[in-house]
């Protein structure tokens, strides 16, 4: 480049950039195709998941309320079950990190994890020691640390408290109730804002009133939701608990409710659905672009991952100590890395630039 004449080469470069970009646009899906994909994903993937989250978290809130009013072993079990249902719902939509869930840091409020410095434990203990009635209001939780108002804090409260600790309308029970109501409110607001606003913003991409300049730009958010979690699941949910040779089961997500493995299974099933489970899907777009072999590989890999995950014994908090489990998980980690590469390569082919992600720099 240096040898080129200084006056001519910028012209040449400008033209060649135009040619390259135009060429890429031609090969990539059209605006219409992106629009169709986004619409399918909203109607068939995102909204149904937020509906389930709203329903299950509302049930959890009423169950916790009933527990504080009339504590009993059966009601405690019921509340723990309701927590499990809500966590199921959250794990199936955890990968959606744009739109209303981003507003007011709702995503972090729902779940702050991993907690490398034990801040949830510290901050929760401080509240439990102080027993300040003012900290039980929604207004307080709204501005409170993400450490004390999400699913991990509620998990600690519900799964490590004894029934006795939850009786006599104790502060502990009331805090559990307040947090579960907060979670239900958050879920409701997220769903409402998707239905009344965000959904329309997506479908009207390119128009003045939309948040998005184009359907392709909106699709970038969808594709980030599909790809970024793959590496995060691998690093945080699988490799961190394996701890470089020294097993650290308490680094697993949701170990107190013994559902670490279930979380991963739900995540992968949901990502697989995002990839190929809707009327127009990433899979169908790839095939229309003539990338059948690549699409087949991705499907195969998703299927293999689901089978591999089925074979891992639960709960990880104990099974991690078995060498066979470790080797199974390492294979799953490899498969996830492969999936990441395959999906990322297809993003280039479809002219999707994912950009920097929040985990760069870790």
């Amino acid at each position: 480049m240096n040898s080129m004449s200084n006056t001519l080469w910028p012209v040449f470069l400008g033209i060649s950039l135009l040619v390259i970009i135009a060429g890429k646009l031609h090969a990539a899906p059209t605006e219409q195709q992106w629009q169709s994909l986004n619409q399918s994903l909203v109607e068939e993937h995102i909204l149904p998941r937020y509906r389930v989250l709203q329903l299950s978290s509302a049930k959890l809130a009423s169950s916790t309320t009933a527990l504080c009013r009339q504590p009993g072993q059966a009601q405690l079990e019921k509340t723990r079950q309701a927590f499990q249902q809500t966590m199921n719902a959250w794990q199936e939509v955890q990968h959606i990190q744009f739109g209303p869930i981003e507003t007011l840091m709702r995503n972090f409020s729902m779940q702050f994890w991993p907690d490398k410095k034990n801040l949830i434990g510290k901050q929760l203990n401080r509240l439990l020691q102080q027993q300040d009635p003012n900290t039980l209001s929604t207004d307080y939780l709204y501005k409170a640390s993400i450490g004390v108002k999400g699913l991990p804090a509620l998990e600690r409260l519900l799964f490590t408290s004894s029934l006795t600790e939850l009786t006599n309308n104790s502060y502990r029970c009331q805090l559990s109730q307040a947090v579960s109501v907060y979670i239900a409110d958050n879920s409701q607001a997220t769903l409402d804002e998707w239905i009344h606003g965000y959904k329309d913003s997506l479908s009207s991409a390119g128009r003045e009133e939309s948040y998005y300049d184009s359907h392709q730009e909106a699709a970038v958010d969808m594709m980030k939701s599909m790809i970024e979690p793959v590496e995060a699941i691998r690093d945080q949910k699988i490799l961190r608990p394996l701890g470089d040779g020294k097993i650290r089961p308490k680094r697993s997500e949701s170990w107190r409710s013994q559902r670490s493995l279930r979380n991963i299974r739900l995540n992968i099933a949901s990502l697989s659905h995002l990839y190929s489970g809707t009327t127009t899907s990433v899979d169908s777009l790839l095939r229309e672009q003539g990338r059948t072999a690549q699409a087949d590989n991705i499907i195969t890999l998703f299927n293999r991952l689901e089978t591999q995950l089925e074979a891992v014994p639960a709960p990880l908090i104990t099974s991690l100590y078995q060498p066979e489990t470790v080797s199974q998980l390492l294979q799953i980690s490899d498969a996830l890395q492969q999936l990441d590469h395959l999906l990322s390569a297809e993003m280039i082919a479809m002219n999707i630039q994912l950009g920097f992600n929040s985990r760069d720099g870790d």
């Binding site: 910028p10 950009g355 870790d362």
Partner: protein, 425 residues
């Protein structure tokens, strides 16, 4: 960035180039040379200011008074000025990233090093068995069934045995933050004003407070010496023929440019905006600040952001006031996409303005830990504005990456970048 604007930017840029007889566009090798020269100067300044720090800590140990302690603290704060500007070189340069953990590891469980306040710090952690190991008070430690002899506190003990002991990253035994803890002690003021307040007598052999003053002195000396050794290593890496300079010089044109831009974006977004700022804001936790003992976070953030600007504009102002500059990435981008370049320059300025607000509020007594308090709505907003500015800056970098057709360039250089697919596609 929006596709629409990307295309129009390219068209504008090419039209501009067509009609205006442009100044010479810098070649990649010139840009890389500027980049490496700034790296060298920044690490040299870091090294020199660490030597100043060592002189001050030696004075402190010779005569432990409040005055000599204050001088040592001032020297530490001065040492952060060049070092923070070097952080932009960490991402993208594997040699720097692998080394960085020795000098600037954070956050730390400081109970590994010295005494801590129980009511404030707690007594145990799910994650870390050595949460309160206190090596200054204990001549031997038990790690996973193995006994460690810590009877002599030496640079080797800190770097080879204690640092990240038991595979826990929060076991930080070396670097700026270990020294910071020794000079300030824990900040027990929560989200109220005030930094750590370790008494100078913690280093006094005759009237020792805090216990084990001899070992605390050894620790401070060992950690300061290590910092100098480590910084010297990085200076050598960026000299003519040094390994880090060589590595980036050997890269192809696109790869070298991608490396520089990746370093900028990774620091701006995931590290500075996310891990070091937004997380603290969301947790409202006073320990979630980068310089949590000294309450110097506002300056650390300011100079982190400045480092990004130095690299983009190809100019670094040294601690003696002189300037190191050369053909810049900015000029390279301007020649191909003038609008994107101007946008980037605007965002860099906006970030600097937002960082300046953090500095201004700190000068009024509202340091970072005060700003992130759960009842400080206006403080929270000031911090959020800094996060937003960095996020916009990152979008501007992504725009440049798209315009220069750098997507999918294979990069290595940091843990988070070991999978390039994740970053540049």
């Amino acid at each position: 960035m929006h596709l629409k604007s990307i295309i129009s930017t390219v068209i504008l840029a090419s039209t501009f180039q067509y009609s205006v007889a442009s100044t010479a566009i810098p070649g990649t090798s010139d840009i890389v040379r500027t980049y490496a020269d700034i790296a060298l100067a920044t690490y040299e300044d870091s090294l020199n200011s660490a030597k100043e720090l060592q002189l001050s800590t030696n004075n402190l140990l010779n005569n432990p008074t409040q005055s000599s302690l204050n001088k040592a603290r001032a020297a530490w704060i001065a040492a952060r000025v060049p070092y923070q500007q070097s952080e932009v070189f960490r991402f993208g340069n594997i040699l720097v990233d692998n080394w960085e953990g020795r000098v600037n590891a954070w956050p730390l469980d400081e109970g590994l090093i010295d005494y801590v306040d129980s009511s404030h710090y707690g007594s145990e952690s799910d994650e870390n068995n050595l949460y309160r190991a206190n090596v200054i008070a204990n001549t031997s430690l038990r790690v996973g069934g193995v006994q460690i002899d810590a009877s002599h506190i030496t640079p080797e003990l800190l770097s080879e045995t204690l640092h990240e002991v038991d595979g826990i990253e929060a076991n930080v035994a070396t670097g700026y933050h270990a020294i910071e803890f020794l000079l300030w002690g824990q900040d027990l003021n929560g989200t109220s004003p005030g930094a750590g307040n370790r008494p100078a007598t913690d280093f006094n052999l005759e009237n020792c407070t805090g216990g084990h003053c001899d070992r605390r002195r050894d620790y401070l000396q060992a950690a300061t010496q290590l910092l100098i050794t480590d910084l010297q290593e990085m200076v050598d890496n960026w000299k003519e023929g040094g390994e880090a300079r060589q590595q980036i010089s050997d890269k192809s044109e696109k790869r070298a440019i991608a490396t520089i831009l990746t370093g900028m974006g990774s620091l701006a977004y995931g590290e500075l905006a996310g891990e070091r700022t937004k997380l603290g804001l969301m947790l409202h936790d006073p320990e979630e600040e980068h310089d949590c003992f000294s309450d110097n976070t506002h300056w650390s953030h300011y100079y982190d952001a400045k480092g990004i600007r130095n690299v983009y504009q190809g100019s670094y102002t040294r601690i003696d006031g002189s300037t190191v500059s050369g053909p810049s990435l900015s000029a390279y981008v301007a020649a191909q996409a003038a609008v994107a370049n101007q946008n980037m320059l605007n965002k860099l300025q906006a970030t600097e303005n937002a960082a300046q607000k953090l500095v201004d509020r700190a000068a009024q007594g509202e340091t970072f830990d005060v700003l992130i308090g759960e009842d400080n709505a206006s403080g929270n907003q000031t911090v959020q504005n800094f996060v937003d500015a960095l996020t916009e800056e990152t979008r501007a970098i992504e725009n440049i990456i798209a315009l220069l057709q750098l997507e999918g360039i294979q990069l290595e250089g940091s843990d988070s970048l070991d999978n390039p697919a994740q970053v540049l596609e």
